[in-house]
């Protein structure tokens, strides 16, 4: 499967996750978000960027419980809760945000 972004064809798997993490850029992120029916706000980017940093450091996409806890620690308690994250990413913060961030599907994702 492939995603068309700026006239370029980007390989994705059957669920829409990037085949090659190095392909990622912000235009691709926006294109994936659009497929997901999301309009990227600063709050969305904050979570997506957090996930990319987490992946760079630990080489995994965190489970949603760990994501929630870590976001709370880094960005404050008002953001480190499921309600806030599910409002941004209704189909699951780990799953949907990871896809937009160009990361693999989280290990043990919900």
């Amino acid at each position: 499967m492939a995603l068309e972004v700026n006239g370029k064809s980007i390989a994705v798997d059957e669920e829409g996750y990037l085949e090659n993490r190095d392909d990622w850029n912000t235009d691709i992120a926006k294109a994936i978000a659009q497929e997901e029916g999301l309009d990227m706000s600063d709050s969305h980017w904050e979570v997506v960027n957090f996930l990319r940093e987490y992946y760079d450091e630990y080489q995994i996409a965190p489970a949603v419980r760990v994501l929630t806890k870590s976001i709370g620690k880094k960005l404050g308690k008002d953001k480190g809760n499921s309600k806030y994250l599910y409002e941004l990413f209704p189909y699951g913060p780990a799953k949907q945000a990871c896809k937009i961030a160009g990361l693999p599907k989280p290990t043990g994702c919900v």
């Binding site: 450091e57 630990y58 080489q59 965190p62 489970a63 806890k69 043990g108």
Partner: protein, 133 residues
């Protein structure tokens, strides 16, 4: 009622899939809020060594993922002293694995405990489930 799970890791990190599979099972299993500990012995101690370089092997270096175990509330990591010493390694050669202790004002603490073979045998005895990789 949570059960006591021990994951026993005996193999070198690359060359077989055991080490990575074990780590993935631990991370997935961590969602079920059991009492989880990990043991590293024999060549398994190499899984925790610092400075792993896998470019020439053409596989992903997954050793940074061990540092996420603390986030997953997996903070009892036993390394067998005899195995470490037999390979000319010491605690300083291993990744610094830490966790934040919720019951102690989130103080950062070391997850790795060096134990003797005899102590590890006792730890194994005390488990409900032992999974060997």
């Amino acid at each position: 009622m949570s059960k006591r799970f021990l994951y026993v890791n005996r193999k070198a990190p690359y060359g077989t899939i055991y080490a990575l599979e074990s780590l993935e099972v631990v991370l997935i299993g961590a969602a079920f809020e059991q009492d989880v500990s990990l043991a590293f012995l024999d060549d398994g101690v190499f899984q925790l060594t610092r400075g792993q370089q896998t470019d020439e092997l053409g596989v992903k270096n997954f050793s940074p993922t061990y540092k996420a175990l603390g986030d997953y509330d997996v903070n009892k990591i036993y390394v067998e002293r005899e195995s470490l010493e037999a390979r000319g390694l010491s605690l300083d050669d291993l990744l610094p694995l830490t966790y934040e202790d919720e019951d102690d004002d989130w103080a950062e603490k070391d997850s790795i405990k060096l134990v003797s073979a005899a102590e590890l045998a006792e730890i194994m005895q005390a488990q409900d489930v032992v999974l060997s990789f």
